[in-house]
Symmetry: C3
Subunit: 427 residues, 3 copies
């Protein structure tokens, strides 16, 4: 399949909300389609922008899409796309596997303050360093995809080599896709009746090699005009004729202002398991509450199994100490059945942050996950879809509504909280 066909398929799967007039009549939608990168045609556009002034000059919505290239230090040459739907703004980084760097909506910021102050270019990162923790040298984004061949802890796994022999390989933390540049990037801006309909960023990232991984990520990141949400539609494709494993995890990270002393994660958890003795310290039932920045804090990680609605859709809320700001992460437990919550409330300077991480598995080493049946496999030419929606809540009402939705998903069931690590989940 050509990339065009793939993208068309994606679009068909998730049609935009068409605008209607007040009388309910559909308005004709025009789509501005701009290719920013296309390795097949040897195209890369360094600078480009479009805004309400160009396409909807009479609109009150001050929307904008802006592409540029980062300069200086370890970020030299990194492509960046800034999207503003008039209410919610966010940054996509094609050079870093179409990750999302940050979002802002009113006074809410989605993201965190990493000790890494630049959007580090892949050429400055050696994933194998520091015992396979090189990934951490560029870790600073809001939403980081982990995958595609593996997404968990570093360490040995075994794979077939070119000679057919099964050989040991050292997997590196969270896989490679966050350090692979997109081979195709497009912007689609849909307008109708003089107003913005939605903005969509499309990207194709290849994690391919001879005698090894042959996976492609096709992503659509879309936000409707004036909305407080964005949705990531991803498709992982097996480009090979033979079966391949894959893994994907959405490492969504949040610091201030949502995170703070007394912030809480509200999840429809059927079961919560501390990953290791550290996570089981103290009162495990307090797993969902965050403390203030604490210099000596060592990360605590919890593995969750969530309830979902009849269609498999679920929602996890992170809310501020005063419950007046928050963010919901919505996804399907059919696509992403495992959720990891990473609490890392260390000193502000060292990275005060929590991760809400829906995934195809828990982020243990792939060899462990395979043993426990949590590594999906794609037949030759097959693909896998996952969708994650982020919604900002800017006031107490929106936060309370989200909390109520999460509560309803549990349908009165209680949460099993394991007192300590469990063999089939925790290595």
């Amino acid at each position: 399949m050509l990339p065009e066909a793939l993208l068309a398929a994606l679009l068909a799967a998730a049609p935009p909300q068409l605008p209607r007039t007040e009388e309910g009549v559909e308005v004709k939608v025009d789509a501005l389609h701009q290719v920013l990168t296309d390795a097949d045609r040897n195209v890369r556009v360094p600078d480009w922008s479009v805004s309400w002034e160009d396409l909807t000059p009479r609109s009150k919505l001050r929307w904008r899409v802006e592409k540029d290239v980062l300069r200086g230090g370890r970020q030299e040459g990194v492509d960046r796309i800034r999207v503003d739907n008039g209410v919610l703004s966010f940054t996509v980084v094609p050079t870093r596997g179409m990750n999302l760097w940050e979002a802002r909506c009113g006074d809410v910021r989605l993201g965190w303050d990493s000790p890494v102050k630049e959007v580090v270019h892949p050429s400055h990162v050696n994933l194998s360093e520091r015992g396979g923790l090189g990934w951490l040298e560029g870790f600073g984004e809001w939403v980081n995809r982990c995958g595609l061949a593996s997404n968990g802890s570093p360490g040995e796994d075994r794979v077939p080599s070119n000679t057919g022999a099964i050989v040991p390989v050292q997997l590196t933390l969270h896989g490679k896709v966050s350090y692979l540049p997109a081979r195709r990037v497009e912007v689609i801006v849909r307008t109708g009746g003089g107003e913005l309909v939605d903005i969509e960023i499309l990207g194709v990232v290849d994690e391919t090699m001879m005698f090894g991984t042959q996976l492609r990520l096709v992503t659509s990141i879309r936000t409707a005009a004036g909305s407080t949400s964005l949705t990531i539609h991803d498709e992982v494709q097996n480009l090979a004729a033979t079966p391949q494993e894959f893994q994907i995890l959405y490492h969504a990270n949040f610091g201030t202002p949502i995170l703070g002393d007394g912030a809480r994660v509200v999840a429809p958890a059927l079961r919560v398991t501390p990953r290791d003795p550290r996570a089981a310290e103290g009162d495990v039932t307090g797993w969902s509450r965050y403390g203030r920045p604490t210099p000596s804090y060592v990360e605590q990680v919890y593995f969750l199994k969530l309830a979902a609605d009849s269609k498999g859709m679920t929602e996890v809320l992170l809310k501020s100490p005063a419950s007046d700001r928050g963010v919901s992460v919505g996804f399907s437990t059919k696509e992403l059945p495992y959720l990891t919550v990473w609490k890392n409330t260390g000193a502000r300077e060292n990275g005060y942050v929590t991760g809400i991480e829906p995934a195809t598995n828990y982020p243990n080493n792939r060899s462990f996950e395979r043993r426990h049946g949590r590594v999906p496999r794609l037949e030759g030419g097959a693909s896998y879809r996952a969708t994650v929606t982020f919604t900002v809540h800017g006031d107490a009402k929106a936060v309370a509504d989200a909390a109520a939705r999460v509560e309803r998903l549990l349908e009165g069931r209680s949460t099993q909280i394991d007192p300590g690590p469990v063999p089939e989940l925790c290595p």
Copy 2:
């Protein structure tokens, strides 16, 4: 020696065919000389071209040389030179050690369809990854030089360190030179009597470090006007004052349309040895015949010892199933005494390909090859030359002629086919 002097020496060694008028009088030859890269003078020309329209406007030969820079994905910033002699066209990649990416001549393509769809920039490849198989992340070219310090399998060898101690090092698959950018690149276009004489691309690639490898590759890639051949003249120079080992292998790779079910390699083989039990499976005498794309196929590799003419020149033919298309690889067994044939007729999507690989050795780990006397050594300041010529055959007659030439090299001698691996050749 200055690069200029080196290049001059190379040119002197391989003078172009001077054109003559019909009466046999030599025509004066003009040479257009264009420097595209020169690290010593801080020069790199991003875009440049010259063609028949500029220099031989009345010629019927539509020749052209075009330099540009690849964009997008993992190929961002890679230099490319496309050469067309009017009949044969090919692509040289200075950023990837002056490798040749592809050639075309009529409906014959030299090259293959790798799962890697981009000409990957060295900065996106970590040779040490995956147990030393990182080289495979960018493997997609038609002719890939393996070397210069080592060219074989990954794994441990022992070298002197800065302190004089003999220390273990992990060699990586096929060495580094394919991921080193050329420090000097020149184009020479020779014309005479209103016609093109030949086109030559010169390149200098340094594989150097303190307390380690200090080797330089000086290459000339030349094609005569309207010919169906090109010739690579390489010189490997020991830049140090002290002796150094080196290795070089020409990993020439072919897929469709020459490769197909029933394609054959026709070689003047005195001896054929299967590298491992896998290569010895079934009827070893069928080693020279290729099957159709087969998803479960595991590579089969054969080590060959070839006959040559009185000057040491030999020729290997790869021909299509219908014997109506083919390519010959010509070289000297004095320079490149060992030939490897790599059969990898896996699924088309996974890489359906064969490699014809003349070299200074077999591509086993260098420590094994040294033990068996197959690692050449250069005294301080000394150099080694190797020449490889590729010729496209576009019809049954040309293929039959090539097969007859190969046959004559054997002078009636038979081929010893070993039933299985042999200790001194196969680790």
Copy 3:
């Protein structure tokens, strides 16, 4: 603290010599301030220059500052700043951690002829290669900072991981800072009364990651108008809230014309210890004398403890065979208490060079240095300063004066020369 504040603090710490008229009246000083790189503001200026023609057109001093970008081979994309104060010229490389590539003053060159002929871009270097010796693939500069997290031999050390576990990591030779691009670069040119006062290059380099090193180098490299010296003021800052170790070493390297058969290092050494049996070969008392280029030579390394004046300042002189040219390296033993002398008088083609290396420690593996109390530790938010001054001596008188200054530092004390390695200094 903002970089601006940091830089201001640095400036305050080292005020320029203000020019005076012949009557001793201070002249008003103007400062041209040019930002060349600022990752926070997404700025990188490829080409820029300023010279006496622009600012002091009636001056006899032909000074100049020139910024450009290197092209070709492994140096493609490397930023370079060339400074000429009218008498002394030198090159700063922001892309390589603000290292100094070379200096020239009259017929004296500070620097050496490495087998590496390019200023290699960090993206072409894998520090982990060759058993942790990858650093040597780009080693060619005059002054190379080693550090910041570690600066010594490769090999295992143990550090806390994200999970709080103490895990083994493989340190690589001389650390990372030489392969980290500066995130902020500024030029300040001070003039007064129609004359140049001084030129200063400021740089900020981050060696940061999540769950690991969080150190920043803030450097000022300054030279006064028409002087034969330059001074490096460095500050290493702990950006974390928690304590961190750090190490810094100034790998200052010299070849011809100062180095030659009979050249000598003149140091106020209280103690000299050969690092290993090789350094103890022959007459150890000859440690300070250099021989001619010798192809089979294996490096000899000496660890020195120096005398200093009452303020802690010391000076080491390297002088040419005829004692008519030389260079002094001045620093404080309070800041840099350990000096290493690296003798590597191998063949000219292989790198005929000596290193004079003041540091916070000896360049053994960090685990060994820690065990012996030579790894400094910075509290959260704290910083460490070090200053090194290089002065060229262009004639016999200047060399003799420097030698006399060094002699005076010893105040008649003799030098203890250990006959062989010593357990607490040599692993």
